[in-house]
Amino acid sequence: MTRTNDGPAILVVDDDLDTCRNLADILSDLGYRVTTANDGPSALKLVEERPFDVALLDLKMPGMDGLTLYREIKKRRADTVAIIVTAYAGGGTKEEALAAGAWHVLPKPVDPPKLLGLVDEALEQPLVMVVDDDPDLCQNLWDLLRERGYRVGVAHDEEEAGKRLKDRAFKVVLIDLKLPKGDGNQVFKLVRKNNPEARTVIITGHRSEMEQLVQSVLKEGADAVCYKPFDIPNLLGMLDKLAR
Protein backbone atom coordinates (compact mmCIF):
# COMPACT_ATOMS: atom_id res chain seq x y z
CA MET A 1 0.00 0.00 0.00
CA THR A 2 1.31 3.47 -0.87
CA ARG A 3 -0.84 5.03 1.82
CA THR A 4 1.39 5.72 4.81
CA ASN A 5 1.55 7.97 7.82
CA ASP A 6 3.87 10.43 6.15
CA GLY A 7 1.47 13.28 6.83
CA PRO A 8 -1.11 14.90 4.62
CA ALA A 9 -0.13 15.59 1.01
CA ILE A 10 -0.37 19.14 -0.28
CA LEU A 11 0.09 20.22 -3.87
CA VAL A 12 1.21 23.81 -4.50
CA VAL A 13 0.92 25.19 -8.02
CA ASP A 14 2.15 28.69 -8.90
CA ASP A 15 4.13 29.96 -11.88
CA ASP A 16 6.17 32.05 -9.44
CA LEU A 17 8.95 29.79 -8.16
CA ASP A 18 9.50 31.78 -4.99
CA THR A 19 5.83 31.56 -4.04
CA CYS A 20 6.03 27.77 -4.39
CA ARG A 21 9.22 27.60 -2.34
CA ASN A 22 7.78 29.74 0.44
CA LEU A 23 4.59 27.75 0.78
CA ALA A 24 6.61 24.55 0.66
CA ASP A 25 8.86 25.81 3.47
CA ILE A 26 5.97 26.90 5.66
CA LEU A 27 3.95 23.71 5.13
CA SER A 28 6.85 21.24 5.40
CA ASP A 29 7.90 22.92 8.62
CA LEU A 30 4.49 21.88 9.98
CA GLY A 31 4.94 18.28 8.87
CA TYR A 32 2.97 18.24 5.63
CA ARG A 33 4.31 16.52 2.55
CA VAL A 34 4.50 19.26 -0.06
CA THR A 35 4.91 18.88 -3.79
CA THR A 36 5.18 21.92 -6.06
CA ALA A 37 4.51 22.48 -9.75
CA ASN A 38 4.93 25.61 -11.86
CA ASP A 39 2.27 24.99 -14.46
CA GLY A 40 -1.00 23.16 -15.02
CA PRO A 41 0.18 20.24 -17.16
CA SER A 42 2.96 19.20 -14.77
CA ALA A 43 0.53 19.55 -11.84
CA LEU A 44 -1.90 17.21 -13.62
CA LYS A 45 0.84 14.63 -14.14
CA LEU A 46 1.45 14.65 -10.38
CA VAL A 47 -2.25 14.29 -9.64
CA GLU A 48 -2.46 11.30 -11.95
CA GLU A 49 0.40 9.65 -10.09
CA ARG A 50 -0.87 10.08 -6.55
CA PRO A 51 -3.60 11.62 -4.43
CA PHE A 52 -3.33 14.99 -2.70
CA ASP A 53 -5.41 16.08 0.23
CA VAL A 54 -5.29 19.76 -0.61
CA ALA A 55 -4.29 21.64 -3.76
CA LEU A 56 -3.26 25.32 -3.48
CA LEU A 57 -3.66 26.74 -6.98
CA ASP A 58 -2.62 30.11 -8.33
CA LEU A 59 -5.38 31.47 -10.51
CA LYS A 60 -3.51 33.32 -13.22
CA MET A 61 -0.80 31.23 -14.82
CA PRO A 62 0.48 31.12 -18.39
CA GLY A 63 -1.04 28.31 -20.42
CA MET A 64 -3.54 26.64 -18.14
CA ASP A 65 -5.10 28.88 -15.48
CA GLY A 66 -5.81 27.68 -11.96
CA LEU A 67 -9.54 27.25 -12.45
CA THR A 68 -9.14 25.13 -15.59
CA LEU A 69 -6.50 23.14 -13.72
CA TYR A 70 -8.90 22.55 -10.84
CA ARG A 71 -11.61 21.32 -13.21
CA GLU A 72 -9.12 18.80 -14.63
CA ILE A 73 -8.00 17.73 -11.16
CA LYS A 74 -11.62 17.23 -10.15
CA LYS A 75 -12.17 14.94 -13.15
CA ARG A 76 -9.19 12.83 -12.07
CA ARG A 77 -9.46 12.99 -8.30
CA ALA A 78 -12.66 14.60 -7.11
CA ASP A 79 -11.65 14.25 -3.45
CA THR A 80 -8.87 16.86 -3.77
CA VAL A 81 -9.82 19.99 -1.82
CA ALA A 82 -8.84 23.07 -3.84
CA ILE A 83 -7.95 26.47 -2.46
CA ILE A 84 -7.46 29.00 -5.21
CA VAL A 85 -5.16 31.96 -4.63
CA THR A 86 -5.46 35.08 -6.75
CA ALA A 87 -3.85 38.49 -7.05
CA TYR A 88 -7.04 39.87 -8.58
CA ALA A 89 -9.69 41.18 -6.30
CA GLY A 90 -13.29 41.29 -7.39
CA GLY A 91 -14.69 40.25 -10.75
CA GLY A 92 -16.76 37.13 -11.17
CA THR A 93 -13.81 34.77 -10.85
CA LYS A 94 -14.45 33.94 -7.23
CA GLU A 95 -18.05 32.93 -7.87
CA GLU A 96 -16.99 30.94 -10.93
CA ALA A 97 -14.33 29.08 -8.96
CA LEU A 98 -16.72 28.27 -6.13
CA ALA A 99 -19.36 27.12 -8.61
CA ALA A 100 -16.80 24.79 -10.18
CA GLY A 101 -16.30 23.19 -6.78
CA ALA A 102 -13.19 24.96 -5.49
CA TRP A 103 -13.46 25.18 -1.72
CA HIS A 104 -12.13 28.68 -1.05
CA VAL A 105 -10.68 31.59 -3.02
CA LEU A 106 -8.03 33.57 -1.16
CA PRO A 107 -6.61 36.94 -2.22
CA LYS A 108 -2.88 37.52 -2.57
CA PRO A 109 -0.93 38.37 -0.55
CA VAL A 110 -2.20 35.36 1.38
CA ASP A 111 -2.62 35.48 5.11
CA PRO A 112 -0.65 32.38 6.21
CA PRO A 113 -2.56 31.74 9.48
CA LYS A 114 -5.81 31.83 7.54
CA LEU A 115 -4.44 29.51 4.85
CA LEU A 116 -3.09 27.06 7.44
CA GLY A 117 -6.40 27.13 9.28
CA LEU A 118 -8.21 26.20 6.07
CA VAL A 119 -5.75 23.40 5.30
CA ASP A 120 -6.32 21.90 8.76
CA GLU A 121 -10.05 22.24 8.39
CA ALA A 122 -9.96 20.49 5.01
CA LEU A 123 -7.96 17.62 6.44
CA GLU A 124 -10.57 17.09 9.13
CA GLN A 125 -13.33 16.66 6.58
CA PRO A 126 -14.18 12.95 6.36
CA LEU A 127 -13.29 11.20 3.11
CA VAL A 128 -16.14 9.40 1.42
CA MET A 129 -16.38 7.77 -2.00
CA VAL A 130 -19.29 7.29 -4.34
CA VAL A 131 -19.09 4.30 -6.68
CA ASP A 132 -21.80 4.64 -9.31
CA ASP A 133 -21.78 4.49 -13.10
CA ASP A 134 -24.25 7.40 -13.48
CA PRO A 135 -22.16 10.59 -13.82
CA ASP A 136 -25.14 12.85 -13.00
CA LEU A 137 -25.89 11.01 -9.80
CA CYS A 138 -22.21 11.18 -8.85
CA GLN A 139 -22.13 14.92 -9.51
CA ASN A 140 -25.29 15.48 -7.47
CA LEU A 141 -23.99 13.46 -4.55
CA TRP A 142 -20.66 15.27 -4.87
CA ASP A 143 -22.37 18.68 -4.58
CA LEU A 144 -24.62 17.53 -1.76
CA LEU A 145 -21.93 15.85 0.32
CA ARG A 146 -19.29 18.53 -0.34
CA GLU A 147 -21.76 21.10 0.91
CA ARG A 148 -22.19 18.96 4.01
CA GLY A 149 -18.42 19.07 4.70
CA TYR A 150 -17.24 15.79 3.21
CA ARG A 151 -14.36 15.24 0.86
CA VAL A 152 -15.92 13.25 -1.93
CA GLY A 153 -14.14 10.80 -4.20
CA VAL A 154 -15.89 9.37 -7.24
CA ALA A 155 -15.45 6.11 -9.15
CA HIS A 156 -17.58 4.95 -12.05
CA ASP A 157 -16.58 1.29 -12.27
CA GLU A 158 -14.97 -1.53 -10.37
CA GLU A 159 -11.48 -0.92 -11.71
CA GLU A 160 -11.49 2.79 -10.83
CA ALA A 161 -12.91 2.05 -7.39
CA GLY A 162 -10.15 -0.48 -6.81
CA LYS A 163 -7.48 2.10 -7.65
CA ARG A 164 -8.96 4.71 -5.35
CA LEU A 165 -9.24 2.26 -2.48
CA LYS A 166 -5.55 1.43 -2.73
CA ASP A 167 -4.63 5.14 -2.68
CA ARG A 168 -6.58 6.42 0.28
CA ALA A 169 -8.41 5.51 3.46
CA PHE A 170 -12.10 6.36 3.07
CA LYS A 171 -14.44 6.64 6.02
CA VAL A 172 -17.49 5.63 4.06
CA VAL A 173 -17.93 4.10 0.60
CA LEU A 174 -21.30 4.26 -1.16
CA ILE A 175 -21.57 1.40 -3.65
CA ASP A 176 -24.07 0.93 -6.43
CA LEU A 177 -24.51 -2.83 -6.63
CA LYS A 178 -25.16 -2.82 -10.36
CA LEU A 179 -22.22 -1.53 -12.40
CA PRO A 180 -21.89 -1.95 -16.17
CA LYS A 181 -18.17 -2.65 -15.85
CA GLY A 182 -17.52 -5.00 -12.98
CA ASP A 183 -19.92 -5.46 -10.13
CA GLY A 184 -20.77 -3.77 -6.86
CA ASN A 185 -20.39 -6.90 -4.84
CA GLN A 186 -16.76 -7.10 -5.99
CA VAL A 187 -16.26 -3.46 -5.02
CA PHE A 188 -17.64 -4.28 -1.58
CA LYS A 189 -15.09 -7.07 -1.26
CA LEU A 190 -12.31 -4.69 -2.35
CA VAL A 191 -13.33 -2.29 0.39
CA ARG A 192 -13.15 -5.05 3.00
CA LYS A 193 -9.71 -6.01 1.73
CA ASN A 194 -8.07 -2.59 1.21
CA ASN A 195 -10.03 -0.33 3.55
CA PRO A 196 -11.16 -2.64 6.34
CA GLU A 197 -12.13 0.26 8.61
CA ALA A 198 -14.34 1.88 6.00
CA ARG A 199 -18.09 1.77 6.50
CA THR A 200 -20.13 0.78 3.47
CA VAL A 201 -23.53 1.85 2.20
CA ILE A 202 -25.17 -0.11 -0.61
CA ILE A 203 -27.18 1.94 -3.09
CA THR A 204 -29.50 0.35 -5.61
CA GLY A 205 -32.45 1.26 -7.74
CA HIS A 206 -33.61 -2.30 -8.37
CA ARG A 207 -35.27 -3.22 -5.13
CA SER A 208 -36.95 -6.51 -5.99
CA GLU A 209 -34.42 -7.73 -8.52
CA MET A 210 -31.40 -7.07 -6.28
CA GLU A 211 -32.97 -7.86 -2.93
CA GLN A 212 -31.28 -11.21 -2.52
CA LEU A 213 -27.84 -9.78 -3.23
CA VAL A 214 -28.51 -6.80 -0.95
CA GLN A 215 -29.37 -9.10 1.92
CA SER A 216 -26.27 -11.23 1.39
CA VAL A 217 -23.99 -8.16 1.27
CA LEU A 218 -25.59 -6.84 4.45
CA LYS A 219 -24.94 -10.17 6.07
CA GLU A 220 -21.32 -9.94 5.02
CA GLY A 221 -20.98 -6.67 6.90
CA ALA A 222 -22.30 -3.75 4.83
CA ASP A 223 -23.57 -1.06 7.17
CA ALA A 224 -26.71 0.08 5.41
CA VAL A 225 -28.67 0.09 2.20
CA CYS A 226 -30.21 3.06 0.42
CA TYR A 227 -32.81 2.64 -2.29
CA LYS A 228 -33.07 4.97 -5.28
CA PRO A 229 -34.62 7.50 -5.49
CA PHE A 230 -32.85 8.54 -2.29
CA ASP A 231 -34.51 9.84 0.78
CA ILE A 232 -31.85 12.59 1.02
CA PRO A 233 -32.28 13.65 4.67
CA ASN A 234 -32.19 10.02 5.67
CA LEU A 235 -29.06 9.37 3.59
CA LEU A 236 -27.27 12.40 5.04
CA GLY A 237 -28.23 11.51 8.58
CA MET A 238 -26.96 7.99 8.12
CA LEU A 239 -23.67 9.22 6.61
CA ASP A 240 -23.12 11.62 9.50
CA LYS A 241 -23.52 8.73 11.93
CA LEU A 242 -21.17 6.47 9.99
CA ALA A 243 -18.47 9.02 9.19
CA ARG A 244 -18.06 11.08 12.35
Binding site: D18, N22, D29, P62, D65, Y88, P107, P109, P112
Partner: protein
Protein backbone atom coordinates in the same frame (compact mmCIF):
# COMPACT_ATOMS: atom_id res chain seq x y z
CA UNK B 1 -17.07 79.15 -14.83
CA UNK B 2 -17.66 81.51 -11.90
CA UNK B 3 -20.47 84.11 -11.88
CA UNK B 4 -18.26 86.99 -13.08
CA UNK B 5 -16.83 85.00 -15.97
CA UNK B 6 -20.31 83.88 -16.93
CA UNK B 7 -21.56 87.44 -16.93
CA UNK B 8 -18.64 88.64 -19.03
CA UNK B 9 -19.36 85.87 -21.50
CA UNK B 10 -23.03 86.88 -21.61
CA UNK B 11 -22.10 90.50 -22.24
CA UNK B 12 -19.82 89.38 -25.04
CA UNK B 13 -22.71 87.45 -26.60
CA UNK B 14 -25.01 90.46 -26.18
CA UNK B 15 -22.49 92.55 -28.06
CA UNK B 16 -22.20 89.90 -30.76
CA UNK B 17 -25.94 89.90 -31.50
CA UNK B 18 -26.19 93.71 -31.16
CA UNK B 19 -28.29 93.80 -28.01
CA UNK B 20 -28.83 97.38 -26.71
CA UNK B 21 -30.30 99.12 -23.68
CA UNK B 22 -33.24 100.04 -25.94
CA UNK B 23 -33.94 96.35 -26.47
CA UNK B 24 -33.97 95.82 -22.72
CA UNK B 25 -36.38 98.73 -22.28
CA UNK B 26 -38.66 97.38 -25.02
CA UNK B 27 -38.88 93.94 -23.41
CA UNK B 28 -39.47 95.51 -20.00
CA UNK B 29 -42.31 97.61 -21.48
CA UNK B 30 -44.30 94.50 -22.44
CA UNK B 31 -43.72 92.74 -19.11
CA UNK B 32 -46.82 94.14 -17.50
CA UNK B 33 -48.90 93.60 -20.66
CA UNK B 34 -48.03 89.91 -20.81
CA UNK B 35 -48.17 89.14 -17.11
CA UNK B 36 -51.78 87.97 -17.23
CA UNK B 37 -51.02 85.64 -20.19
CA UNK B 38 -48.19 83.80 -18.39
CA UNK B 39 -50.30 81.24 -16.41
CA UNK B 40 -51.93 79.99 -19.65
CA UNK B 41 -48.50 79.69 -21.32
CA UNK B 42 -47.15 77.67 -18.42
CA UNK B 43 -50.19 75.37 -18.35
CA UNK B 44 -49.87 74.74 -22.10
CA UNK B 45 -46.15 74.01 -21.71
CA UNK B 46 -46.61 71.23 -19.14
CA UNK B 47 -49.64 69.81 -20.91
CA UNK B 48 -47.38 69.34 -23.95
CA UNK B 49 -44.61 67.68 -21.93
CA UNK B 50 -47.17 65.20 -20.67
CA UNK B 51 -47.60 64.01 -24.27
CA UNK B 52 -43.89 63.19 -24.71
CA UNK B 53 -42.75 60.17 -22.71
CA UNK B 54 -39.03 60.87 -23.22
CA UNK B 55 -39.42 64.36 -21.74
CA UNK B 56 -41.97 63.27 -19.14
CA UNK B 57 -39.79 60.51 -17.70
CA UNK B 58 -37.24 62.93 -16.23
CA UNK B 59 -39.98 64.31 -13.99
CA UNK B 60 -39.90 61.70 -11.27
CA UNK B 61 -41.61 63.60 -8.47
CA UNK B 62 -45.21 63.36 -9.74
CA UNK B 63 -47.80 66.15 -9.65
CA UNK B 64 -46.19 67.92 -6.71
CA UNK B 65 -43.00 68.32 -8.71
CA UNK B 66 -44.93 69.58 -11.75
CA UNK B 67 -46.57 72.23 -9.57
CA UNK B 68 -43.12 73.31 -8.34
CA UNK B 69 -41.79 73.34 -11.90
CA UNK B 70 -44.69 75.52 -13.02
CA UNK B 71 -43.70 78.01 -10.33
CA UNK B 72 -40.09 77.92 -11.56
CA UNK B 73 -41.15 78.46 -15.18
CA UNK B 74 -43.41 81.39 -14.24
CA UNK B 75 -40.50 82.92 -12.33
CA UNK B 76 -38.23 82.33 -15.35
CA UNK B 77 -40.70 84.11 -17.66
CA UNK B 78 -41.05 87.06 -15.26
CA UNK B 79 -37.26 87.43 -15.07
CA UNK B 80 -37.12 87.22 -18.86
CA UNK B 81 -39.49 90.17 -19.14
CA UNK B 82 -37.97 92.10 -16.22
CA UNK B 83 -35.53 94.18 -18.29
CA UNK B 84 -32.83 93.45 -15.74
CA UNK B 85 -30.13 91.23 -17.26
CA UNK B 86 -27.40 91.20 -14.64
CA UNK B 87 -24.96 88.54 -13.33
CA UNK B 88 -27.71 86.93 -11.22
CA UNK B 89 -29.92 86.63 -14.27
CA UNK B 90 -27.16 84.87 -16.22
CA UNK B 91 -26.31 82.57 -13.32
CA UNK B 92 -29.96 81.47 -13.16
CA UNK B 93 -29.94 80.63 -16.89
CA UNK B 94 -26.70 78.70 -16.50
CA UNK B 95 -28.30 76.66 -13.73
CA UNK B 96 -31.07 75.55 -16.09
CA UNK B 97 -28.58 73.86 -18.43
CA UNK B 98 -26.64 72.35 -15.54
CA UNK B 99 -29.82 70.97 -14.04
CA UNK B 100 -30.87 69.40 -17.35
CA UNK B 101 -27.67 67.33 -17.42
CA UNK B 102 -28.26 66.29 -13.85
CA UNK B 103 -31.76 65.00 -14.50
CA UNK B 104 -30.73 63.49 -17.86
CA UNK B 105 -32.98 65.59 -20.11
CA UNK B 106 -31.93 65.42 -23.74
CA UNK B 107 -30.81 68.80 -25.03
CA UNK B 108 -33.22 68.56 -27.94
CA UNK B 109 -36.11 69.15 -25.50
CA UNK B 110 -34.55 72.39 -24.28
CA UNK B 111 -34.47 73.68 -27.85
CA UNK B 112 -37.99 72.67 -28.71
CA UNK B 113 -39.37 73.78 -25.34
CA UNK B 114 -37.89 77.22 -25.83
CA UNK B 115 -39.33 77.33 -29.34
CA UNK B 116 -42.78 76.52 -27.95
CA UNK B 117 -42.50 79.24 -25.30
CA UNK B 118 -41.31 81.69 -27.95
CA UNK B 119 -44.36 81.03 -30.12
CA UNK B 120 -46.63 81.35 -27.11
CA UNK B 121 -45.08 84.64 -26.01
CA UNK B 122 -45.21 86.13 -29.50
CA UNK B 123 -48.82 85.07 -29.98
CA UNK B 124 -49.83 86.53 -26.60
CA UNK B 125 -48.00 89.72 -27.47
CA UNK B 126 -49.93 90.00 -30.76
CA UNK B 127 -53.17 89.49 -28.87
CA UNK B 128 -52.62 92.26 -26.35
CA UNK B 129 -50.64 94.74 -28.48
CA UNK B 130 -52.50 97.98 -29.24
CA UNK B 131 -49.63 100.23 -30.26
CA UNK B 132 -47.76 101.07 -33.41
CA UNK B 133 -47.00 98.17 -35.82
CA UNK B 134 -43.40 99.22 -36.42
CA UNK B 135 -42.79 99.25 -32.69
CA UNK B 136 -44.37 95.77 -32.43
CA UNK B 137 -41.73 94.47 -34.88
CA UNK B 138 -38.96 96.08 -32.80
CA UNK B 139 -40.34 94.54 -29.59
CA UNK B 140 -40.63 91.13 -31.24
CA UNK B 141 -37.07 91.42 -32.48
CA UNK B 142 -35.80 92.27 -29.00
CA UNK B 143 -37.73 89.37 -27.44
CA UNK B 144 -36.39 86.93 -30.00
CA UNK B 145 -32.82 88.05 -29.44
CA UNK B 146 -33.24 87.77 -25.69
CA UNK B 147 -34.56 84.22 -26.00
CA UNK B 148 -31.67 83.30 -28.31
CA UNK B 149 -29.23 84.59 -25.72
CA UNK B 150 -30.98 82.55 -23.03
CA UNK B 151 -30.73 79.46 -25.14
CA UNK B 152 -27.04 80.08 -25.86
CA UNK B 153 -26.27 80.23 -22.15
CA UNK B 154 -28.35 77.17 -21.33
CA UNK B 155 -26.69 75.15 -24.09
CA UNK B 156 -23.27 76.34 -23.04
CA UNK B 157 -23.96 75.20 -19.48
CA UNK B 158 -25.33 71.90 -20.72
CA UNK B 159 -22.23 71.19 -22.78
CA UNK B 160 -19.80 72.25 -20.06
CA UNK B 161 -21.49 70.11 -17.45
CA UNK B 162 -21.91 67.17 -19.80
CA UNK B 163 -18.23 67.20 -20.78
CA UNK B 164 -17.14 67.59 -17.17
CA UNK B 165 -19.19 64.56 -16.17
CA UNK B 166 -17.90 62.52 -19.08
CA UNK B 167 -14.32 63.33 -18.14
CA UNK B 168 -14.94 62.43 -14.54
CA UNK B 169 -16.23 59.00 -15.46
CA UNK B 170 -13.42 58.42 -17.97
CA UNK B 171 -10.88 59.35 -15.33
CA UNK B 172 -12.47 56.91 -12.92
CA UNK B 173 -12.36 54.16 -15.54
CA UNK B 174 -8.68 54.88 -16.22
CA UNK B 175 -7.87 54.77 -12.51
CA UNK B 176 -9.68 51.45 -12.28
CA UNK B 177 -7.70 50.05 -15.19
CA UNK B 178 -4.38 51.16 -13.72
CA UNK B 179 -5.33 49.81 -10.30
CA UNK B 180 -6.26 46.42 -11.76
CA UNK B 181 -3.05 46.12 -13.78
CA UNK B 182 -0.81 47.24 -10.96
CA UNK B 183 -2.63 45.17 -8.34
CA UNK B 184 -1.66 41.87 -9.89
CA UNK B 185 1.95 42.82 -10.48
CA UNK B 186 2.40 44.13 -6.93
CA UNK B 187 0.46 41.49 -5.05
CA UNK B 188 2.62 38.68 -6.37
CA UNK B 189 5.89 40.04 -4.94
CA UNK B 190 4.02 41.11 -1.79
CA UNK B 191 2.76 37.56 -1.46
CA UNK B 192 6.33 36.25 -1.48
CA UNK B 193 7.45 38.87 1.04
CA UNK B 194 4.56 38.11 3.33
CA UNK B 195 5.02 34.34 3.29
CA UNK B 196 8.79 34.66 3.81
CA UNK B 197 8.21 36.92 6.81
CA UNK B 198 5.73 34.41 8.16
CA UNK B 199 8.27 31.63 7.76
CA UNK B 200 11.00 33.63 9.49
CA UNK B 201 8.73 34.48 12.40
CA UNK B 202 7.05 31.10 12.83
CA UNK B 203 9.18 28.26 11.48
CA UNK B 204 10.07 25.82 14.24
CA UNK B 205 13.58 24.93 13.23
CA UNK B 206 14.83 27.12 10.42
CA UNK B 207 18.47 26.50 9.55
CA UNK B 208 20.72 29.55 9.11
CA UNK B 209 20.78 28.80 5.36
CA UNK B 210 16.99 28.85 5.22
CA UNK B 211 16.87 32.15 7.08
CA UNK B 212 19.33 33.72 4.65
CA UNK B 213 17.44 32.29 1.71
CA UNK B 214 14.20 33.89 2.89
CA UNK B 215 15.82 37.23 3.61
CA UNK B 216 17.32 37.29 0.13
CA UNK B 217 13.96 36.36 -1.33
CA UNK B 218 12.34 39.27 0.46
CA UNK B 219 14.95 41.63 -0.91
CA UNK B 220 14.52 40.26 -4.43
CA UNK B 221 10.77 40.75 -4.40
CA UNK B 222 11.00 44.24 -2.95
CA UNK B 223 13.06 44.99 -6.06
CA UNK B 224 10.43 43.36 -8.28
CA UNK B 225 7.73 45.55 -6.73
CA UNK B 226 9.91 48.60 -7.10
CA UNK B 227 10.48 47.71 -10.76
CA UNK B 228 6.74 47.73 -11.36
CA UNK B 229 6.48 51.25 -10.01
CA UNK B 230 9.54 52.38 -11.99
CA UNK B 231 8.06 50.97 -15.20
CA UNK B 232 4.81 52.81 -14.59
CA UNK B 233 6.41 56.14 -13.84
CA UNK B 234 8.82 55.81 -16.77
CA UNK B 235 5.83 55.30 -18.99
CA UNK B 236 4.11 58.34 -17.52
CA UNK B 237 7.10 60.62 -18.18
CA UNK B 238 8.79 59.46 -21.36
CA UNK B 239 11.81 61.70 -22.07
CA UNK B 240 12.13 63.71 -25.28
CA UNK B 241 14.23 61.71 -27.77
CA UNK B 242 17.71 62.78 -28.82
CA UNK B 243 17.55 62.17 -32.57
CA UNK B 244 20.79 60.99 -34.17
CA UNK B 245 21.69 58.68 -37.07
CA UNK B 246 22.53 55.07 -36.24
CA UNK B 247 23.24 51.96 -38.34
CA UNK B 248 20.67 49.19 -38.20
CA UNK B 249 22.73 45.99 -38.57
CA UNK B 250 25.03 46.43 -35.52
CA UNK B 251 22.05 47.76 -33.58
CA UNK B 252 20.11 44.55 -34.22
CA UNK B 253 23.12 42.37 -33.42
CA UNK B 254 23.59 44.02 -30.01
CA UNK B 255 19.89 43.79 -29.33
CA UNK B 256 19.75 40.05 -29.94
CA UNK B 257 22.70 39.58 -27.62
CA UNK B 258 20.80 41.44 -24.92
CA UNK B 259 17.61 39.45 -25.55
CA UNK B 260 18.82 35.90 -26.05
CA UNK B 261 16.33 33.53 -27.63
CA UNK B 262 15.89 29.90 -26.62
CA UNK B 263 17.42 27.09 -28.69
CA UNK B 264 14.12 26.20 -30.31
CA UNK B 265 13.67 29.64 -31.88
CA UNK B 266 15.46 30.15 -35.17
CA UNK B 267 16.51 33.72 -35.95
CA UNK B 268 17.16 35.32 -39.31
CA UNK B 269 18.13 38.94 -39.93
CA UNK B 270 17.68 40.21 -43.43
CA UNK B 271 18.57 43.85 -44.15
CA UNK B 272 18.46 44.92 -47.78
CA UNK B 273 21.98 46.08 -48.75
CA UNK B 274 20.89 49.64 -49.47
CA UNK B 275 19.06 50.09 -46.19
CA UNK B 276 20.21 53.52 -44.97
CA UNK B 277 21.09 54.48 -41.41
CA UNK B 278 18.14 55.36 -39.16
CA UNK B 279 17.30 58.65 -37.52
CA UNK B 280 16.08 58.39 -33.95
CA UNK B 281 17.04 57.98 -30.32
CA UNK B 282 18.87 54.64 -30.43
CA UNK B 283 18.39 54.06 -26.69
CA UNK B 284 14.64 54.48 -27.02
CA UNK B 285 14.37 52.45 -30.24
CA UNK B 286 16.26 49.67 -28.43
CA UNK B 287 13.35 49.49 -25.97
CA UNK B 288 10.87 49.29 -28.86
CA UNK B 289 12.56 46.48 -30.81
CA UNK B 290 13.52 44.74 -27.56
CA UNK B 291 9.85 44.62 -26.56
CA UNK B 292 8.89 43.27 -29.98
CA UNK B 293 11.52 40.51 -29.79
CA UNK B 294 10.43 39.58 -26.27
CA UNK B 295 6.80 39.43 -27.36
CA UNK B 296 7.74 37.25 -30.33
CA UNK B 297 9.62 34.88 -28.03
CA UNK B 298 6.66 34.67 -25.64
CA UNK B 299 4.33 33.97 -28.56
CA UNK B 300 6.40 30.90 -29.46
CA UNK B 301 6.63 28.81 -26.28
CA UNK B 302 7.07 25.67 -28.41
CA UNK B 303 9.73 27.34 -30.56
CA UNK B 304 9.52 28.70 -34.10
CA UNK B 305 11.06 31.21 -36.42
CA UNK B 306 11.84 34.86 -35.71
CA UNK B 307 12.61 36.90 -38.84
CA UNK B 308 13.74 40.51 -38.76
CA UNK B 309 13.62 42.16 -42.16
CA UNK B 310 14.45 45.76 -43.05
CA UNK B 311 14.05 47.71 -46.27
CA UNK B 312 14.11 51.36 -47.37
CA UNK B 313 10.76 52.95 -48.15
CA UNK B 314 10.86 56.53 -49.45
CA UNK B 315 12.23 58.77 -46.70
CA UNK B 316 11.80 55.95 -44.17
CA UNK B 317 13.05 52.52 -43.26
CA UNK B 318 10.66 49.69 -42.44
CA UNK B 319 11.70 47.00 -39.96
CA UNK B 320 9.45 43.95 -39.73
CA UNK B 321 9.65 41.62 -36.71
CA UNK B 322 7.84 38.43 -37.66
CA UNK B 323 7.15 35.37 -35.53
CA UNK B 324 5.49 32.03 -36.19
CA UNK B 325 3.76 32.01 -32.81
CA UNK B 326 0.24 31.79 -31.47
CA UNK B 327 -0.97 34.97 -33.21
CA UNK B 328 -3.46 37.50 -31.90
CA UNK B 329 -7.23 37.05 -32.15
CA UNK B 330 -8.92 39.76 -34.20
CA UNK B 331 -10.92 41.07 -31.25
CA UNK B 332 -7.72 41.76 -29.27
CA UNK B 333 -5.82 43.34 -32.15
CA UNK B 334 -7.48 46.72 -31.62
CA UNK B 335 -6.47 46.84 -27.99
CA UNK B 336 -2.96 45.43 -27.77
CA UNK B 337 -1.31 48.86 -27.91
CA UNK B 338 -3.48 50.26 -25.11
CA UNK B 339 -1.54 50.84 -21.91
CA UNK B 340 -2.18 48.20 -19.22
CA UNK B 341 -3.94 45.89 -21.65
CA UNK B 342 -2.51 42.40 -21.36
CA UNK B 343 -3.63 38.88 -22.15
CA UNK B 344 -0.58 37.39 -20.48
CA UNK B 345 -0.44 35.87 -17.02
CA UNK B 346 2.43 38.12 -16.03
CA UNK B 347 3.36 41.66 -16.96
CA UNK B 348 1.84 45.10 -16.70
CA UNK B 349 0.69 45.35 -20.29
CA UNK B 350 2.89 48.32 -21.12
CA UNK B 351 5.28 46.85 -23.72
CA UNK B 352 3.46 47.78 -26.91
CA UNK B 353 2.01 50.98 -25.44
CA UNK B 354 5.57 52.10 -24.67
CA UNK B 355 6.71 51.04 -28.15
CA UNK B 356 4.01 53.07 -29.80
CA UNK B 357 4.58 56.12 -27.58
CA UNK B 358 8.34 56.05 -28.24
CA UNK B 359 7.85 55.71 -31.99
CA UNK B 360 5.45 58.63 -32.06
CA UNK B 361 8.02 60.81 -30.33
CA UNK B 362 10.69 59.56 -32.73
CA UNK B 363 8.48 60.47 -35.71
CA UNK B 364 7.94 56.83 -36.57
CA UNK B 365 5.04 54.42 -36.33
CA UNK B 366 4.10 50.85 -35.46
CA UNK B 367 1.82 48.50 -37.38
CA UNK B 368 0.68 44.98 -36.64
CA UNK B 369 -0.66 42.13 -38.73
CA UNK B 370 -1.57 38.81 -37.20
CA UNK B 371 -3.19 35.52 -38.01
CA UNK B 372 -4.21 33.35 -35.04
CA UNK B 373 -2.28 30.09 -35.15
CA UNK B 374 0.10 31.41 -37.83
CA UNK B 375 1.98 34.24 -36.14
CA UNK B 376 2.29 38.02 -35.98
CA UNK B 377 4.29 40.67 -37.80
CA UNK B 378 5.05 44.01 -36.13
CA UNK B 379 6.41 46.60 -38.53
CA UNK B 380 8.31 49.62 -37.26
CA UNK B 381 8.69 52.62 -39.53
CA UNK B 382 11.48 55.08 -38.75
CA UNK B 383 12.98 58.01 -40.63
CA UNK B 384 16.09 57.28 -42.71
CA UNK B 385 19.10 59.38 -41.74
CA UNK B 386 19.78 60.18 -45.42
CA UNK B 387 16.63 59.93 -47.46
CA UNK B 388 17.09 57.89 -50.63
CA UNK B 389 15.14 60.35 -52.78
CA UNK B 390 17.02 63.41 -51.52
CA UNK B 391 13.95 64.83 -49.78
CA UNK B 392 14.75 66.90 -46.71
CA UNK B 393 13.26 66.18 -43.31
CA UNK B 394 11.34 69.00 -41.88
Amino acid sequence: MNADELYRRYQELQQYVGWTADDARRVQSIGRLLDSSLPALVEDFYAEIDRHPEARKVITGGDAQIERLKGTLTQWLRELLSGKYDADYVAQRWRVGWRHVEIGLDQVYTNTALSRLRRGLLRALGDVWTGDFKELLAVRGALNTLLDLDLAIIEDAYQAEYTARQQRSERLAAVGQVAGGVAHELRNPLNVVKTSVYYLLNARNPSPEKRTEHLQRIERHVLVADGVITALSNFAKMPVPTMAPFALAPFLRDLLELNPLPENVKVTIDCLPKTPALLGDADQIRIVVGNLIRNAREAMPQGGQLSITAWPDGDSVQIAVKDTGVGIPKENLQRIMEPLYSTKARGLGLGLAIARAILEKNRGSLKVMSEPGQGSTFTVRLLAAEPADGEQHR
